[in-house]
Symmetry: C2
Subunit: 285 residues, 2 copies
Amino acid sequence: MKRTSRISDLRNIITEEKKRGRKIAFVPTMGFLHHGHLTLIDKAKETGAFLVVSIFVNPLQFGPNEDLTRYPRDIERDALLVEAAGVDILFHPTVEEMYPEKMVTFVEVGELDEMLCGANRPGHFRGVATVVNKLFNIVQPDMAFFGQKDYQQYLIIKRMVTDLNLPIQICPVPIVREDDGLAMSSRNVFLNPEQRQEALVLSKSLNEAERSIQMGQKSAREVEEQIKKSITLKSQGVIDYVEVRDASDLTEVTDIKRPVLIALAVKFGTTRLIDNKVVEVKRDV
Amino acid sequence: MKRTSRISDLRNIITEEKKRGRKIAFVPTMGFLHHGHLTLIDKAKETGAFLVVSIFVNPLQFGPNEDLTRYPRDIERDALLVEAAGVDILFHPTVEEMYPEKMVTFVEVGELDEMLCGANRPGHFRGVATVVNKLFNIVQPDMAFFGQKDYQQYLIIKRMVTDLNLPIQICPVPIVREDDGLAMSSRNVFLNPEQRQEALVLSKSLNEAERSIQMGQKSAREVEEQIKKSITLKSQGVIDYVEVRDASDLTEVTDIKRPVLIALAVKFGTTRLIDNKVVEVKRDV
């Protein structure tokens, strides 16, 4: 596996591969890789394309009071993992390499960026869209892989690609969970044993909500209340949001008729976890 | 010369040329071509690259009370001109082809976009940056050519390319003028004979300002006042702005020490004209 922190090196290598007619697959990450990332990488590997993984903890998407400095990092461990996964090149730029001078250009994906995780993290998705746009321009992939745990991020990137005519196929990959149901996240390492146990309420309440919708529950508000009640009863988690939204564009939903996204963000101590589930709705027969 | 209004056609053709190892040169325009555009095209032609010209009057960069509907158009005349100039492919998409659904993604180049032409045209440069970003993603050129008449636009595009890591060389081309000094513009056709005559005050006052700076004038405010006085005395033009700015980043200037941009926008009747001049400053010996 090749490995570089330089944009110019990466470009040279990718240009050579393209000249040989190879497609490029890309998995952008913030590192501290877990089984969810490795699933993304496996999916990308299956395409047979030249496989680029980036590791970059992007300051632009963290708010001033967020966990940028304590975000977990372990580049050497990550490098071993991606090498074993058959990645062709690991790109791990420094902040200076990605932002050599003050940025004045930003990519904004309106409408989708102010709700859910955007409401309490102003500027977060602007930071995400901008860095992903930069990475896309650097890597120029044919396909890029995003996990559905960050469902809103996935929709925002998909919309950016459509609106800006980027010639890139955005491939979503389902959430990967621990055996007991907790959605995998680099931030899970911050949970103490009690919080780790309590956090199971997230996936459990999502599963319950799914069953309730499949049994005929049509009220988005009632589904939300049911989940909030479970979380409050069974944990000390502080709810940021629990929302039932249209799965295609995140618009608000009153009556559940089409596929919905049930999304939530809950803080356990100082650690904010997110989880979600897309629920298909059976047609009335 | 090939000609298409379809993004997919254009992409297929460009992909074939790239496979053959050809570089791509790109000249984006809003059509109704004049000698200024043809100079851009000639410069692009000199590179020996496969030459793409686009003609698209971009609604996104026109304000609600601006001249989108009356902006002059003559695609058949334009097609003859670009064919004669040796262009390889003319891309003239419809509005529906460029904006098939409601846009929610925008590229914003902060700081540079709110002054000068941005001050009285809110959203204008956001519309420019966004459509140029789209066109760059569609054409994927190695080089793109921009006229310095739209100096602020040129700087904004250059900054967007740097900040977003677009692998494109931005090539500026000097202003082309009529024999009597008027900067060429598609909007000049709207001037009546009297306005056409009066509009000469723009280039003349820029030339006078340049001489005055070369003779030792250091005060940006005095240069601006001198130009405003000339325009007001010698024409019925209504001044939008006359400003002396740093030529590299358009920041405000008090004492003229480094190269400056003198930029102005003046309305003659309903027709808004812009012109500018970059003035080098002789070092004190």
